[in-house]
């Protein structure tokens, strides 16, 4: 009897499965979406460097059969810059959780976008610090209960896509794990984009965010919570700010061209 193998299995580093994500976690879905995009585009994984910092999402690249940097919290875009400027021919893809990207890594994120560094960031936003056990994150909604906000969070949450738009990212989109086709399409666009691309995928974390903030460890219920709050961009444009207050707008927000970053100052022999 022949065993049928997942056609994307060839992109996984030998001996690394099963993965260590919790049952119901969206990171496995995002891994699939990325590989589907790579496969559809017929990209050569030898020419892609993947990067993960620290956190659940940061483990995604560890499973990939690519050159990979992993293991330091928040510094993904600093790594990405060193690689991209020295070897511009390589494609650099960063997998980052919300804590990794905009909490500890916020400053690097901001400046990489400002420079229009030619890399792709796939952000998995699960609204909390999951690997460390469910603490409040910059993306946690106001009044949410987490392991470090037992009386509710009194911090305002950050709209990362809005930040990216303001900071100068040249491709920005947001989906959730319930939108596989849109997510794959956006990742494909991001991978083909010349410049800083951000694809945010809101993802269910039943183990920590679900249990503490939503009082359920049920994957479907946590995902339903995200889906109920997700509003397509076209619909959102007709809604009041008040109605959008605790909603997540999904869609493509930015897709433009700008010169990419090659260094803080670049010598041009022709001009001398």
């Amino acid at each position: 009897m022949s065993v049928k193998q997942n056609p994307l299995r060839k992109y996984i580093r030998d001996g690394n499965l099963p993965h260590f994500f919790c049952s119901g976690c969206g990171c496995g879905q995002v891994l699939n979406y990325f590989l589907k995009a790579v496969d559809d585009l017929d990209m050569n994984l030898d020419e892609i460097v993947t990067i993960g910092g620290v956190g659940c999402t940061a483990r995604i690249p560890v499973y990939l059969s690519t050159d990979t940097f992993h293991g330091v919290h928040g510094r993904t875009l600093a790594w990405a810059t060193g690689i991209k400027l020295y070897k511009p021919e390589l494609k650099v893809v960063i997998f980052a959780g919300d804590g990794d990207l905009v909490s500890i890594g916020g400053n690097h994120f901001l400046h990489a976008m400002r420079r229009n560094l030619d890399v792709t960031v796939i952000l998995v936003n699960n609204f909390n610090f999951a690997m460390t056990g469910g603490q409040v994150a910059p993306t946690t909604l106001f009044d949410s209960i987490t392991m470090t906000t037992p009386y509710g969070s009194k911090e305002n949450c950050l709209d990362i896509c809005k930040l990216a738009e303001t900071a100068g990212a040249t491709y920005v989109s947001r989906w959730n794990t319930d939108k596989p086709m849109q997510s794959v399409n956006s990742i494909k666009k991001a991978l083909q984009h010349k410049g800083f691309s951000l694809v945010e995928i809101m993802s269910q974390c039943p183990t920590n965010f679900g249990r503490y903030s939503l009082k359920t460890g049920d994957t479907k219920k946590v995902l339903d919570w995200i889906v109920d709050k997700s509003v397509p961009k076209a619909k959102a444009e007709k809604m009041s700010n008040e109605d959008l207050a605790d909603k997540f707008v999904i869609g493509e927000f930015v897709h433009t061209e700008k010169p990419v970053f090659l260094g803080t100052t670049v010598y041009n022999q022709d001009e001398k």
Binding site: R13, G15, N16, L45, D46, E47, V49, V62, S65, T66, D67, T68, F69, H70, G71, V72, G74, R75, A78, W79, A80, T81, G82, I83, L85, Y86, K87, E89, L90, N107, H108, L110, H111, L262, G263, T264, T265, V266, Y267
Partner: protein, 383 residues
């Protein structure tokens, strides 16, 4: 990677005699070594390094980035190094604090790179050796650093060049421990000719991707690297890792990995460590010192010699790893060793550890943000 024979750019090397700022000399030393990536963040008194790099590096085909902070500097340097660059960053004490995290990463994944730290005390640009222990012990976890202590603008050139070569040979971060005194001093610098410069390049694997294990190495040696983007699929993780790079969970794996990562420096210290002795042959007492303190110490030794005192000087070019064999050799033949430094007495502990079995050790320290004068040292050593 700089191939001296094929893509050496003549603009790299300003052969000849210059009257040059110490910080500039370090830049020229880096360029001579083949540096082609620099990231830095503004901080006094290291700014002239970034400024000159921003001009010099792009014109020889290198990359210059002014990062958003020192964390950016050290991580982009480590990743550029793993992508093939000869990479460097420069900072001063307060900025060096931030870099410790990245030095830990660079040590764990064995990224060859050079970090120049101009020591300056807290907040102000004082002369100091206050960070000498931080060079070695700043980051968490197990590692060894190679740290070189120049005492002049010329040595800023020489040791930065040497630092790159040692970084390449051992796949390890190398720290150039500069000081305000020499960084902001202008003096004679001789830049040698092309033929006089020795360049060491890291070893790359000759294995095909299927057969290559990125962290498989000889005992106490660095593993050969694989080029990035060529199908080797190397995983460079801070987590402790197997020979194939995968994240290890077996505690014995931790022990094995760090035994090699620290052993490749410590067990090769005879190759790494450099010292210079002056008037040691008949010496009954010896000053052991490093960095710019060597300068007044040398004067003081000459003054004491004129009085007939049999005193010599051991200059530590390599501060870390501790050149134990050379220090011990000196200690065995003398009655007393003076541990001279510009701080509350830090490296003196290392000198005491090595010497106290053989002779007495007396500390001469000054912690005022001012270098010792020759008279102060002379008074301290006068019999």
């Amino acid at each position: 990677m700089i191939d001296k024979e094929n893509n050496w750019n003549q603009k790299r090397l300003k052969t000849g005699v210059h009257f040059m700022l110490g910080n500039y000399a370090a830049v020229e030393g880096a360029l001579a070594a083949g540096c082609d990536y620099f990231a830095g963040y503004p901080i006094t008194p290291a700014n002239e390094i970034s400024e000159r790099m921003s001009q010099r590096l792009p014109e020889v085909g290198g990359v210059f980035v002014q990062g958003e902070d020192e964390l950016f500097s050290i991580y982009s340097v480590a990743s550029a190094a793993l992508a093939g660059a000869k990479a460097m960053t420069a900072t001063a004490s307060a900025g060096f604090n931030y870099m410790q995290e990245g030095i830990g990463y660079a040590s764990a994944v064995e990224a060859p790179c050079v970090i120049l730290n101009v020591q300056r005390c807290r907040g102000e640009n004082f002369a100091t050796h206050a960070d000498v222990m931080q060079m070695r012990w700043g980051a968490s976890g197990d590692y060894e650093t190679i740290c070189l202590a120049p005492s002049s603008a010329q040595e800023l050139f020489d040791y930065t060049l040497l630092g790159f070569n040692l970084a390449e040979k051992y796949r390890n971060p190398v720290i150039i421990m500069s000081e305000t005194t020499i960084a902001l001093m202008r003096e004679r610098v001789l830049v040698p000719s092309y033929d006089e410069i020795e360049i060491v390049n890291r070893a790359y694997t000759d294995l095909q991707p299927d057969a290559y294990l990125p962290f498989k190495a000889e005992e106490n040696a660095p593993p050969p690297m694989a080029p990035l983007g060529k199908g080797y699929h190397t995983l460079y993780t801070l987590n402790y890792h197997n020979e194939d790079g995968s994240i290890e969970w077996d505690p014995k794996g931790y022990d094995k990995l760090y035994k090699r990562i620290t052993g490749k420096i410590w067990e090769n210290r005879k190759d790494i460590c450099r010292t210079e002795g002056y008037l040691l042959d008949d010496a009954e007492t010896v000053i052991i010192t490093y960095g710019s303190e060597v300068r007044p110490a040398m004067d003081a030794v000459r003054m004491a010699r004129e009085d007939g005192q049999k005193i010599g000087l051991l200059k530590l070019v390599t501060v870390w790893p501790v050149p134990e064999e050379d220090i011990r050799e000196v200690a065995k033949g003398v009655k007393k060793v003076y541990a001279l430094e510009m701080n509350i007495g830090k490296y003196a502990r290392e000198i005491e550890r090595v010497c106290s079995r053989y002779c007495t050790v007396e500390r001469i320290t000054k912690n005022q943000g001012i270098i010792h004068t020759k008279d102060e040292i002379y008074q301290a050593i006068k019999g």
